[in-house]
Amino acid sequence: MEKLSFHAGDFEGPLDLLLHLIAKHKMDIRDIQISDLLEQYLSAIQSMQEQDLEIASEFLEMASRLVYLKTVTLLPRHEEESAKLKQELQGQLLEYQVCKMVAMELGRQSKGFSRFVRAPAKLEAVDMTYTLQHSPYKIYYAYQDAIGRGRRKLPPPAQAFSGIVARRMVSVKSRIIYILKRLYQRGKDSYIGLFEESDGRGEIVATFLALLELIKAKRVTENGGQIIFQHQQRTEERT
């Protein structure tokens, strides 16, 4: 096999080296022959070593990844995993290839820093003193972020629960009382009317469940969209 010669900094990383090998050996990026690629990759690494080039750990990591991929490919009943690993590598190579192309295009488009700007004028009179007001907790949370812990490790503030608590408050029982009160005054009400004052999905659902309960208990009847209050003796026992 042809002896490859490399120079330090020739490649941005293992993906760059792989793309180079794939192009050089006219392989199809979407149909990589892992054993061929591994062989070429290892010989490239070896050639770097022979030249006493410092090999970044990423190159060695990629070598072990390729070895693993080849092993999996050879094992029976591992077709699925090997296909998945191969696809991962191909996806990464394709992505990096796009990155390289875009980088090249950006480089071409760079105006070479040829437009000069001024340094901002130093004006003695300008008062830059910050005057906005913040809670000291802003500083506390920023500190948590800065030391990499993030605010997720903090107990959630009470208002985070407010939504849950508010929804729990709408019990079916409270809506049964609401419907009964409403009907007791008017004798009957339209179906839609019962939901008029409902605030939010939770309350609507609770009202509907309350209505089902009342119909089941025969406390109300439904007739053509009208909900009619039933004056029954059981009324007193039930409440």
Binding site: P14, E58, G107, Q109, K111, G148, G150
Partner: protein, 187 residues
């Protein structure tokens, strides 16, 4: 001839040095941001007609006054500025990843490039081409990066939407032959 408010705008941009938000310019001269935007062509014309070697750039909601590119050599000579080294391939790759995916974390960049990129990100930050864009709601709350107004200026763009179009998306990559993934010319 430009009107007094327009003169004030030029004065602000001159003294501001960096790109100044259009909204801030408008507030200072007591007019609407829309008016300031409307005046940009007029101001460019005035600079041109009076033979000023300056350009007025609109960069993503900001305005910046800078010298026209043809004066770069004489400025470099007079101010004894080192000729700017073109950006390295590594720097361009990182810039490309940040520009097209912003806001992004350093580990996202490293995942695509397959190599540690912290040094490159720091140097791009020092060059004023990328900057911090808060932290992402991800484990460890990693710092996100975005490109700057200075990046737009250096690459002759007015906003990120003017970046060259990407080759077809990944999911169609199966059918796309490599030859067709040529980048389109920026318009």
């Amino acid at each position: 001839m430009i009107n007094p408010l327009q003169k004030q705008i030029l004065a602000i941009l001159f003294a501001g040095g960096d790109a100044v938000e259009i909204s801030r310019v408008a507030q200072a001269v007591e007019t609407e941001p829309e008016m300031v935007v409307k005046w940009v062509p007029k101001l460019r014309e005035a600079l041109q007609e009076s033979g000023m070697p300056f350009e007025l750039l609109e960069l993503d909601g900001k305005l910046q006054l800078c010298t026209a590119p043809e004066y770069a050599p004489v400025i470099q000579k007079a101010l004894e500025l080192r000729r700017n080294q073109p950006l390295s391939q590594a720097a361009l790759e990182v810039l490309a990843i940040v520009a097209y995916n912003q806001p992004v974390t350093r580990s996202f960049v490293e995942q695509i490039r397959g190599v540690d990129s912290s040094g490159v990100v720091t140097s791009l930050e020092e060059k004023g081409l990328v900057e911090e864009a808060g932290r992402l709601e991800l484990p460890g709350r990693p710092i996100a990066y975005k490109t700057t107004a200075n990046f737009l200026r250096c690459f002759g763009l007015e906003n990120i939407g003017q970046l060259p179009k990407l080759p077809p998306a990944k999911n169609t990559a199966e059918e796309t032959s490599l030859e067709t993934t040529d980048l389109e010319e920026p318009t």
